[in-house]
């Protein structure tokens, strides 16, 4: 078996579906949870700590027969800003693009302010992203800013 062949066995090709590549190794499970891949019926493969020329180590997810719209996929940008979205149809790459940080974030991030109503009653959190480079999330309810270092996932 050639070295090339052995590489192929580690990450097999899919016919139709989505590959999310260049995920920071520690964020793979989080990304799957955000996209609901821990509960979807499609075949899902994931790899953690794979070798990456660009990043040293990376994570990767492959989902058979499932495609995501930008709104959904951009959610993962908050944990995996380096991620690449690849759409495959008939073994051919038809879309390849970076995820982008969205304008609003709903539901999966906790408000940092312990005195925010979202931390006292059952309310879905909502934030406006007011700074994409140095992540700042403005809470729709308490109006306080949750910064990148204080981001906690629900």
């Amino acid at each position: 078996m050639t070295k090339e062949g052995r590489k192929e066995l580690i990450v097999s090709a899919i016919q139709n579906g989505t590959v999310i590549d260049h995920i920071p190794a520690h964020a793979v499970i989080r990304v799957m949870r955000i996209l609901g891949l821990d509960q979807c019926p499609q075949q899902v493969l994931f790899g953690i700590n794979l070798d990456s020329r660009k990043y040293g180590k990376k994570g990767l997810i492959k989902v058979q027969d499932k495609f995501f719209d930008s709104l959904e996929i951009n959610k993962i940008s908050l944990v995996a800003p380096t991620a690449t979205l690849i759409e495959i149809r008939d073994f051919e790459v038809v879309v390849k693009k970076h995820v982008e940080i969205p304008e609003t974030v709903e539901g999966f991030i906790k408000c940092f302010n312990p005195k925010c109503i979202t931390n006292h009653e059952q309310i879905i959190t909502r934030f406006a992203v007011i700074d994409k480079t140095d992540l700042k999330l403005h809470c729709h309810y308490c109006e306080k800013i949750t910064k990148k270092e204080n981001v906690v996932f629900i």
Partner: protein, 302 residues
């Protein structure tokens, strides 16, 4: 403005605020009317208040409306663990408008999303207090003749002072120059300064109140609270530096007015009260007219 809630100072446009201030003048000239006859306004105060609650109640009573509500969360089923959502949904059925004050930030915004009647935020934790801001603007307009191009100083607790935050944000619509006086620990938060910068306006920061007195048209005093300081010794060091005495006003402008949202503790010495530039009690009275204008607009009666 009909049927719209007022939760944050950013909810209404500059023009809408100017309309409200105009309307408030008419109510000041004629505060006793019957336009709210048949209407029920709920005042839900989960937290203490003198001025805000009573001025809302006075506003409604003088317009012929009726009040229901509570002035302490312990007097409601909140003490049994009832959620805010359930409380609001219930009270929506008994009233045409809800005025609420609650210690948790974002509570009024949430209430406005679950209520079937409009909500007026009378203060949500350290976040917003938009009606105070409105009456402050009304007072500034009343005493300065215009809201444009003023030099306004905010003194004291600029970090947690929600009235300061709302006023700064509102004044950015009027080409104001801001003079911010506070201890280092209590500076204006960057999220509020962002509004100043976004409108290409200037702010200057000081730790000594004496530096600003001769420069400004409005001196807005706020209370410095001991419990806000992580270092008690720091509080002891600064607590007397932000007290206004009458003699400090010697070089102030003729048109200067001293405002304070009240209650005051010691930050404005009583020797200031007889100075014609002291305007804090008139400011509180303006609250009735502004709230009348707001309630009438939201209920579509003006």
């Amino acid at each position: 403005m009909k049927n719209r809630s007022l939760v944050s100072i950013t909810d209404f446009t500059k023009d809408e605020y100017l309309q409200l201030l105009d309307l408030a003048v008419r109510f000041e000239n004629n505060p006793i009317q019957k336009i709210l006859e048949g209407y029920v306004v709920a005042t839900l105060f989960f937290e203490p208040s003198t001025r805000t609650r009573l001025s809302f109640e006075s506003a409604v009573n003088r317009l012929g409306g009726k009040i229901i509500g509570f002035s302490d969360a312990a007097m409601s089923s909140t003490s049994k663990g009832e959620s805010l959502m359930d409380t609001i949904r219930t009270v929506s059925n008994y009233s045409d408008l809800i005025v609420m004050r609650h210690p948790i930030e974002g509570s009024a915004r949430w209430a406005s999303e679950v209520a079937s009647v409009p909500i007026i935020n009378a203060g949500d934790g350290a976040n917003q207090h938009p009606t105070q801001c409105l009456l402050d603007l009304y007072t500034i307009l009343q005493t300065q003749g215009s809201l444009e191009n003023l030099n306004v100083a905010f003194v004291g607790d600029l970090k947690y002072g929600r009235t300061v935050h709302s006023n700064v944000i509102a004044l950015t619509h009027f080409n104001t120059t801001f003079h911010l006086v506070s201890p280092e620990e209590l500076k204006l938060p960057s999220s509020v300064k962002m509004h100043i910068k976004n409108n290409n306006l200037n702010y200057y920061q000081y730790t000594d109140i004496n530096e600003v007195i001769s420069k400004v048209d409005i001196l807005y005093m706020t209370r410095i609270q001991k419990e806000r300081f992580s270092d008690v010794l720091e509080y002891e060091r600064v607590k007397n530096s932000y007290i206004l005495h009458n003699k400090m006003l010697e070089n102030s402008r003729n048109n200067l007015k001293i405002l304070h949202p009240l209650p005051r503790v010691n930050e404005i010495n009583v020797d200031v009260d007889n100075n014609p530039k002291a305007y804090y009690f008139e400011q509180a009275l303006n609250g009735v007219y502004v709230r009348q204008a707001l309630i009438a607009s939201i209920l579509g009666l003006a």
